[in-house]
């Protein structure tokens, strides 16, 4: 832990954050598998520091361990926010190794992937205790009322953690970000394509504004 981290988590650091707002926030990227979390993490890291965070794949549960990238400075006009991005494994209520076989994995590889995926889900949920805000990624071509989305949002609301819903995949023909907006009117929803970069400026602007706000975190 560096000096800045020690300051951030000290009583003085928290007091000053409540008075002046947050300048440095740890942001978790959450969502179900295959909604584009790592594509979004890579987009943010590439846009602001020219690097990528993890590999992407059509096979679900490609990200099975949380990956972090620290000190990414996001600017929005005269405002800025320094964030640590945590790309978390997809959260789900079921994992069946047989689902991976159709992607050409051997049974041994599929079983290993499934085992790691279950561990990844647990790790992702544990990270909720150590973050300051969440980018909740949803696939805007899919039904938004999934239990995973409801559970994540419920936990964030209980902790009073700020969340921005990234309505991803708007480059696809059947995308309907308006459905997400009407499903979760209490949260900011930003339609994006992490793949093409469409609307990312709007997302960065909302991140600086929303994650930089003063707020008091509640314990669960």
């Amino acid at each position: 832990m560096g000096l800045m981290d020690i300051f951030r988590f000290s009583s003085l650091g928290r007091f000053l954050e409540r008075i002046f707002g947050r300048r440095h926030a740890r942001i978790g990227i959450y969502g179900p598998p295959n909604v584009g979390k790592t594509t979004l993490a890579n987009r943010i890291a590439r846009d602001w520091c020219g690097e990528i965070i993890g590999s992407v794949s059509d096979i679900p549960h490609e990200t099975r361990r949380a990956k972090a990238k620290s000190n990414i400075k996001i600017e929005n006009g005269s405002s800025s926010l320094i964030i640590d991005i945590v790309d978390t494994p997809g959260i789900t209520t079921k994992v069946d190794f047989r689902d991976f076989l159709k992607y050409g994995l051997s049974e041994e590889e599929a079983r290993q992937r499934a085992k790691e995926a279950t561990e990844g889900v647990i790790e992702a949920i544990r990270w909720l205790d150590d973050i300051d805000g969440v980018l909740l990624v949803m696939d805007s071509t899919q039904d938004p009322f999934t239990q995973v989305n409801v559970t994540i949002l419920g936990n964030l609301e209980a902790r009073n953690l700020p969340v921005i819903i990234a309505a991803n995949k708007i480059d696809l023909e059947d995308a309907s970000p308006a459905t997400l907006k009407s499903a979760f009117p209490q949260h900011p929803v930003v339609p994006i394509s992490a793949l093409t970069g469409h609307n990312m400026d709007m997302l960065y602007s909302k991140m600086v504004e929303h994650f930089g706000k003063r707020r008091r975190r509640r314990s669960r």
């Binding site: 959260i91 789900t92 209520t93 994992v95 069946d96 889900v121 647990i122 239990q147 936990n155």
Partner: protein, 121 residues
């Protein structure tokens, strides 16, 4: 002789109120692993739902239990005073083995699910 089929248990609010959060999670996982579908009159809080997912993940054995299908409505939105007092109102929730219960459609008013007996894993 007991008829063969899928057992659906409707769990009352009273029964759930008798259990602590961890007892509730253990009870649900235990019953679902037996192949039962549970309809909880009073659903789980957000933090219990997260704990249920964690417990489910650690219970998956890939050959006989691949996880759960769970659907419930978001907690009721409460007034300022109730929120201040930490009062939460989880709502009806249906939970079953993922190899048996499949959600067809869900919106903020209706949950439609199908039971596929003998689908197996």
């Amino acid at each position: 002789m007991r008829a063969r089929g899928v057992t659906v248990d409707l769990i009352s609010r009273n029964k759930l109120d008798e259990l602590s959060s961890s007892e509730k999670i253990d009870f649900i996982i235990g019953e679902v692993k037996k192949g039962k579908i549970l309809i909880l009159e009073k659903g789980l809080t957000a933090s219990e739902q997260a704990d249920l997912i964690k417990k489910t993940m650690s219970s998956i054995d890939h050959d006989t239990f691949i996880g759960i299908e769970v659907e419930g409505y978001p907690e009721e939105r409460l007034g300022f005073l109730q929120r201040l007092l930490g009062i939460r109102k989880p709502r009806l929730t249906v939970i079953g083995p993922a190899n048996l219960l499949k959600t067809v459609k869900k919106d903020d008013k209706i949950i439609e699910a199908i039971i596929v007996p003998g689908r197996g894993v």
